[in-house]
């Protein structure tokens, strides 16, 4: 008798749990569960930045074409030129297909990297790269949507450098996040990843 009661009550709890789980799944069936470590799709992002020629750019402007987005700053002596040179190298490897890509550098140093400073800097690498900057708040919004971190680190002489996520983010033309190219990833892997979002 006692055993039957226990079995019945357990079955009841299990049934109720299954119902709630099912209800939850049904209610969120159209919502992609965001991974806290990966960028949101461009369609779910909400930020507003200014490009290197002074025009406003929103996530919607990065859709319609496959996009390659990365974070950096122009006062960075090693990592950022290395990434920019890698990108220039990949674009060259893609040939004319690279013209169908949107390539954007979002600065994590908006205080120093004004649109003019960005324009001057990126002109040295590849004219297809656009630079994006904004207020500190706008930059933090973009960083949150891309799930990247950046930290201002003071240097001895009162100057500063910035630790930041060094990967390159790839998106399909419809805004869906595709993949990340890690810092210093071999071009044998990087270029096929780019071809995939261009296909």
């Amino acid at each position: 008798m006692r055993r039957r009661q226990i079995i019945l009550s357990l079955a009841g709890v299990a049934g109720a749990s299954a119902f709630m789980l099912g209800l939850g799944a049904w209610k969120t069936r159209n919502r992609a569960v965001p991974n806290p470590l990966l960028p949101l799709p461009l369609t779910s992002m909400d930020w507003r930045l200014t490009n290197h020629v002074g025009q406003e750019v929103t996530p919607a402007d990065l859709r319609g074409r496959p996009a390659m987005v990365f974070f950096g700053f122009t006062y960075c002596p090693d990592v950022c030129p290395t990434t920019l040179l890698d990108i220039a190298d990949w674009l060259e490897a893609l040939g004319s297909d690279a013209d169908r890509l949107t390539v954007a550098l979002i600065t994590v140093d908006p205080e120093r990297d004004t649109p003019d400073v960005l324009a001057d800097y990126i002109s040295n690498f590849d004219p297809r790269i656009i630079g994006l900057t904004g207020s500190m708040g706008e930059t933090a919004c973009a960083a949150a949507d891309f799930r990247i971190s950046f930290d201002k680190m003071p240097t001895v002489d009162g100057d500063y450098t910035i630790n930041h996520t060094a990967g390159v983010f790839l998106f399909y033309a419809n805004g869906r996040f595709a993949s990340i190219i890690d810092f210093h990833e071999d071009r044998r892997f990087a270029v096929p990843k780019l071809r995939r979002i261009l296909a």
Partner: protein, 156 residues
């Protein structure tokens, strides 16, 4: 005539030396020292080179000075969980019998407070200080902003 021989040897070596000089002090030699042209003097410039320790004792690069920058420092780029940081390196070990590279994405010299823009095709002097080998003067080639490695024939 005896004095002329070294001079002639130098003349013959000159065209090669121009592309890729090696600087030696004791067991330490430094080659493929290069930097990138800068835009003005506002941004820190970078310094890359290779150090070979042909001796039997470990050595270490402790620091550098140069008239080209008021605050040259040694740094290392590290990437942890995808986040790149550039901590100051107190010294760079150069173990006996090994070659250590200061190269893009790893150890590098950071030249803060440039005294003049670095112009492609020009050179500037640096003095490296090693724990055991002492001071070593090296000439650094300024390559294009888009250079990714030293412009030597034997560069990797």
């Amino acid at each position: 005539m005896k004095n002329l021989l070294p001079a002639m040897a130098f003349l013959l070596a000159a065209p090669m030396a121009q592309a890729c000089e090696t600087f030696t002090s004791g067991d330490i030699s430094v080659q493929q020292a290069w930097s990138r042209a800068s835009i003005g003097t506002g941004r820190p410039a970078v310094l890359y080179l290779e150090i070979t320790n042909s001796g039997a004792m470990d050595d270490a690069l402790l620091g550098l000075t140069t008239p080209a920058a008021s605050m040259p420092m040694l740094h290392e780029t590290t990437v942890t969980d995808g986040v790149a940081a550039m901590p100051h390196a107190a010294s760079i070990p150069v173990p006996a019998g090994q070659t250590v590279a200061l190269s893009p994405g790893g150890f590098h010299g950071m030249l803060m407070g440039l005294t003049a823009p670095l112009v492609e095709g020009e050179k500037f002097p640096i003095t490296l200080t090693f724990e055991k080998a002492g001071a070593l003067d090296v000439s650094v080639d300024i390559l294009s902003m888009r250079a990714q490695e030293a412009a030597c024939d034997d560069a990797k």
